[in-house]
């Protein structure tokens, strides 16, 4: 024990340093969703282009679909929007627009200006449903399977890489 105990501080330090190094490749602000693998929370919300009608998530059962949370006041949403527009054009799966804490008027104008890739747009004006989905920042995107279970969540703007490496393979798997 004579000399070895002098090596203890060094040992502890190396351990800590290893973790710190690993930490550099992680993002402490990214919060993973506990909802993955669970049933998508139910909602029934008014549509943007027809506020009398309500649209529910149960209307999508039987399909694999994307839920994209966006708002007209959100900068990064604009960044990812071209990717969503592109994705919608490829007609793989329907994309539902989830307008979060926004003014319907502003949302409609935003979509007019930048393109509307959504099969439908629902309005969550007070953000209550967003809360159920664990939304804490915009944009966020969910992939939901045929039975209505959440299989994937992306926090932050979608990148082409996310689409090609994560979303498309998963869609293929879920569509079999």
């Amino acid at each position: 024990m004579a000399v070895t105990r002098f090596l203890i501080p060094l040992g502890i330090f190396i351990g800590v340093a290893a973790f710190l190094f690993k930490g550099l490749s992680l993002d402490p602000k990214e919060v993973p969703s506990p909802l993955i693998g669970k049933a998508a929370p139910d909602f029934s919300l008014p549509l943007l282009n027809n506020s009398e009608t309500r649209f529910a998530n149960s209307d999508m059962v039987g399909k694999v679909w994307l839920l994209n949370v966006f708002a007209s006041w959100c900068g990064p949403c604009l960044d990812e929007h071209p990717i969503i527009v592109n994705f919608a054009r490829s007609n793989t799966v329907p994309v539902l627009g989830f307008n979060y804490k926004d003014r319907p008027q502003a949302a409609a104008q935003w979509l007019d200006r930048h393109g509307d890739p959504y099969s439908q747009v629902v309005l969550d004006i007070d953000g209550r449903i967003g809360l159920d989905y664990g939304v804490y920042g915009v944009p966020e995107t969910f992939l939901i399977d045929r039975e209505g279970f959440i299989r994937y969540k992306k926090i932050g703007p979608l990148t082409q890489l996310d689409v090609s490496e994560d979303i498309l393979p998963l869609i293929e798997e879920l569509s079999r």
């Binding site: 330090f13 710190l20 930490g23 402490p28 919060v31």
Partner: protein
């Protein structure tokens, strides 16, 4: 031109540091006297060059040179000039330049004020500091150059974050960095001692004043940061266990342990190995803090804009410096002889126990701060560790330490007896317990935590008084000394100890009473409304729009009434800083010895009234008052005449004294 000159000066400084490291270290180990002679002058040159470079950056800020990227990102032409000065260290790059400025300053100070240290030791010390400097200068020049140009120049700058536009920003970082960086001195002393094998009481005597000064600066720096958060953030919180706060607190805890450990090594020749390890640990924590704040590894309100690439560099540097030091430690420390023996009940034991508690506290803070990272890295999910954890863990660890603070100074060296201690301290104990049980009733409701806190504070304060009393009695038994003579002949270092320990007691009183008895009221106020809090009635008399140099806003005029009489008037503001479009509340605070009255404007409501938060915080200023007393104690200790007569004691061997 000026930024380029500044840039060049810093490049030259790096070259000087390289030369200094090489010639000092090789010269000292090989015994080349003319190589060692390079160390002192190169330290002065390094400091001059760095100061020059720093001034160039400051000039760029003061003259609104928006062709410099750093100035364009952090300043603005409407920004008042003191904040333009402070903005020079408000960014990651600028703060690094401040870091190396402090480092070179400390190196010059060591070169200037170490007449008694033999040349080879001094060369080793300056050489080690130069190695640290090389790391930081290269980091600055390679990844974080504050002199980078922005071409074409911006028309105006992005302004300094409004939260930082405050006198606190002018003084808090410099104080903090003086402390952080100051621990590099004792670190260098420790490495030099390990390399040369000369780890003895003389080494401890040299290191101690440097450590104490750095510690005092760090104390002031942390206290200023806390006070600033209190009045700036608008809800009166003063400590959040935020990772960046913890990053400064851990070196402080270990630095405190180090100071006390050096005391024992100097006076008794014991704890040598432990002291050296503490010196390495304390500075390592300083470096770790630098890493945590800039690498993006942890979330914090204080963190600089993060960049993992920079993180890799600092981590690499950290691994090199700390790893090499600990390897050196593992290699050389076993060869250091044992110091004197001491009993389980003795002043040495009390100090050792105290040190251990401080280090365990620091380790717990480190664990809590890094735990989210540990779990995330292991793929075990994401959790957050906040104040509930730290409060629950820190206080029980420090409680025994506070108890020991009463016992330690009054125990004898080497061998003390429990009955003796008990008889000296029994009155202090009884009075503390009784007062602690009764005092809460004078403030309001009785509360066990308040009682406990008061007990600790009273115990420390009264034990200090008993200590002084005992000393005076001992001295008066001598040649019929008068009390005045005895008081003036006691060394400054003794008063330093008393002052610092009383500072801790004052601090504990502040924390305990404000946590136990603060009152908060959130109300909706229109002009003419009043709100009562404690014995005060506050009436909103007027709301007027106003303008500042770089903001617009609304100011409320609040009359403060006691028993219907107006005793004061306070002016809380809500500002909108034009450039960053950021709203800020400037709380109005009436600072008093026994309480703070704190008023902050929230949001305006649709009916023209305002949300107003009013706080009554009893004894809150004792928190920072206590910290100030601690720092003052440190300064008193360093001003002891022993250090001024240092040269006379040069060849004195292990002086074993029985004074404190």
């Amino acid at each position: 031109m000026i930024p380029e000159i500044g840039h060049f000066a810093v490049i030259l400084a790096l070259c000087v540091a390289v030369a200094q490291a090489f010639f000092s270290l090789v010269g000292a180990t090989r015994g080349h006297t003319n190589w060692m002679a390079v160390s002192r002058p190169s330290a002065y040159v390094l400091f001059l060059l760095t100061t020059f470079g720093f001034c160039c950056l400051v000039i760029s800020f003061l003259t609104n040179d928006f062709s410099v990227l750093n100035v364009a990102s952090n300043s603005n032409s409407q920004l008042p000039w003191p904040y333009r000065l402070a903005a020079s260290w408000g960014s990651h790059e600028g703060s690094l330049l401040l870091w190396v400025l402090m480092l070179s300053g400390w190196m010059a100070a060591v070169a200037r004020f170490s007449k008694g240290v033999p040349d080879d030791m001094l060369s080793l010390i300056l050489g080690v500091m130069a190695l640290v400097a090389i790391g930081f200068y290269s980091f600055l020049l390679l990844t974080s150059n504050p002199f980078d140009r922005l071409l074409p120049p911006a028309v105006d700058g992005r302004d300094l974050n409004p939260l930082l536009q405050d006198p606190g920003m002018v003084i808090h970082p410099p104080m903090l960095y003086m402390g952080y960086v100051g621990f590099s001195v004792v670190f260098a002393f420790a490495i030099a001692a390990l390399i040369s094998g000369r780890l003895d009481t003389t080494w401890a005597r040299w290191s101690r004043p440097w450590t104490t000064i750095a510690w005092a600066f760090l104390t002031i720096g942390i206290a200023l940061g806390s006070w600033w958060a209190y009045y700036e953030l608008g809800w009166g919180g003063w400590w959040f266990w935020d990772p960046v706060e913890n990053a400064s607190f851990m070196p402080w805890l270990c630095g405190t342990a180090l100071m006390h450990s050096l005391l024992v090594t100097e006076k008794r020749g014991s704890f040598k190995v432990w002291t050296v390890l503490l010196a390495i640990i304390t500075f390592s924590l300083s470096l770790l803090g630098t890493f945590l704040v800039r690498s993006g590894v942890l979330t914090s309100v204080h963190a600089f804009a993060t960049d993992p690439e920079r993180g890799v560099f600092i981590l690499g540097f950290l691994v090199f410096v700390v790893g090499a030091s600990l390897i050196l430690f593992a290699w050389r420390a076993p060869k250091v002889g044992l110091g004197g023996r001491f009993d389980l009940v003795s002043r040495e034991s009390a100090l050792l126990a105290n040190n251990v508690l401080l280090v365990v506290a620091a380790a717990s803070v480190l664990l809590g701060t890094l735990y989210p990272l540990f779990l995330d890295a292991l793929g075990l999910g994401k959790i957050s560790v906040g104040p509930p954890y730290f409060d629950a863990v820190f206080i029980p660890i420090m409680a025994p330490a506070m108890f020991l603070m009463g016992i330690g100074p009054i125990s004898r060296w080497k061998k003390s007896s429990v009955p003796d201690l008990a008889s000296k301290l029994k009155w202090a104990f009884v009075v503390s317990v009784v007062s602690a049980l009764l005092l809460p009733f004078t403030m309001g409701t009785w509360n066990v935590l308040v009682s406990f806190g008061l007990l600790m504070a009273l115990w420390i304060a009264l034990a200090g008084i008993v200590n002084l009393w005992t000393r005076l009695k001992q001295m008066s038994r001598g040649e019929g000394n008068t009390v005045w003579n005895s008081l003036t002949s006691l060394p400054n270092s003794y008063y330093g100890m008393l002052c610092a320990h009383w500072g801790v007691a004052v601090f504990i009183v502040g924390v305990t009473l404000v946590n136990g008895y603060e009152i908060e009221k959130d109300v909706k106020m229109s002009v003419g409304n009043t709100v009562t809090i404690g014995s005060y009635t506050i009436r909103l008399d007027a709301l007027k729009e106003m303008e500042g140099p770089n903001y617009t806003g609304v100011e409320g005029s609040m009359a403060i009434l006691v028993d219907g009489e107006e005793v004061d008037r306070m002016f809380p503001q809500k500002r909108l800083y034009t450039v960053q479009q950021m709203a800020m509340t400037e709380a109005a605070i009436d600072t008093g010895f026994t309480r703070d009255l704190y008023i902050s404007l929230g949001e305006p409501l649709s009916d023209g009234s305002w949300v107003v938060r009013v706080y009554l915080k009893p004894f809150v200023d004792w928190i920072w008052g206590g910290a100030f007393l601690m720092a003052l104690g440190g300064i008193l200790a360093v001003s002891d005449r022993r250090y001024r007569k240092a040269s006379q004691m040069e060849n004195g061997s292990e002086e074993v004294t029985t004074s404190s």
